[in-house]
Point group: C2
Chain length 215, copies 2
């Protein structure tokens, strides 16, 4: 369930990803829709086509195995676009993580600007390939470090990382269990690499060391 809303973005400076600007111009975004935490944005099997622009909040893109194991392939934060798919139906599904504001971009008048869409798809591909390396060849500690460094880069880069998602989501993104996430954070804290201001606020005390852990 999602609620139409005239919500305005609380984000002070809206940093759009490269290529997003053109797309927004060409596709005249709809009003912002607010999705409650864990609300479904689109489901596996839904007709693909419209794209989604994150005004604020965080979105997770997921897949399930037949027996219910979940893998989150990406988190999308404010300023990013998601929802493009090769087939006519979505084969992954998207959910709001923490209450996200989304604008639907419909290919209504005129045609889809393939060029800027291509740019976004290639960026997404690059990041997914990088995540493959993380899941295939890194230890749990290194995976966690990779996430923290990545979030730091995508947030203000000031060394204070906000985790909008909970442990379960982090676990399913990193391909480990949530207990392991907890233990890894504890270990990183004990090593002095991070300081935990709160459950969802982490200070990267030694950014160099963390970066070195993930290339």
């Amino acid at each position: 369930m999602h609620i139409q809303s005239g919500f305005r973005a609380p984000a002070p400076q809206q940093v759009k990803s490269a290529g997003v600007g053109q797309l927004l111009n060409a596709m005249q975004p709809a009003a912002v829709t607010l999705y409650a935490p864990d609300a479904e944005i689109y489901a596996q099997g839904d007709k693909a086509g419209p794209l989604y622009y994150v005004e604020f909040g965080t979105v997770r893109i997921c897949r399930l195995t037949a027996d219910g194991r979940r893998q989150i392939s990406a988190f999308h934060i404010a300023g990013e676009v998601f929802g493009f798919e090769a087939a006519s139906e979505h084969d992954s599904f998207a959910e709001s993580v923490d209450g996200a504001g989304i604008r639907v971009l419909r290919p209504s008048c005129g045609e889809i600007p393939a060029q800027s869409l291509l740019t976004l798809a290639l960026q997404s591909l690059t990041r997914t390939q990088h995540h493959l390396l993380v899941l295939g060849r890194r230890t749990a500690n290194e995976r966690m470090a990779a996430l923290l460094v990545d979030l730091n880069d995508r947030q203000n880069g000031a060394g204070l990382v906000h985790l909008p998602m909970q442990r379960n989501d982090i676990a399913d993104y990193l391909g480990v269990t949530f207990e392991t996430v907890s233990r890894i954070l504890r270990a990183l804290k004990d090593q002095g690499l991070i300081r935990m201001k709160s459950v969802s606020e982490i200070e990267l005390a030694d950014l160099d060391a963390l970066s070195a852990m993930c290339d």
Copy 2:
């Protein structure tokens, strides 16, 4: 080192992936270049731009961690196109697995057909996301089953799979060690799911069971 060659494709029926046809027409492919096994096609840091069409043989797309661990993000076989990248430089590298014949597609006359390129990029993204699920949430047995079923689909689908790559490559694609690959194949054989005609020829004795292992 690669040798210019007037090689002709030994593949009897050349099955092009969806979207490839248009691209080939628009980009007038160059002559086939033969790459010896393990020969580099492009390196990390190389200027990106040209695309590559696999005439025959197999190509691997790789990334390395700082300490040398390798992850293969994809194998490309005859009829597929690879080499598109978001940035201006490749951040992964491509090598011939078994002696591959490659045509370079240069965006020479006219501009790149963004629409068909987008189709390919999205297909690549979909497959990479699916592979993420395999690496993040599947056991070694399931990963091997996934590869066998995938190769079977992309080859003739007749239940007799040819492995053009060696154990080391399989391991780095599946995110396990080559010893584990060996053991898994042994286990699948003992369970009667596969029969090993040779080191590189595997008969899928129970395709249903193998498919069930990976959704």
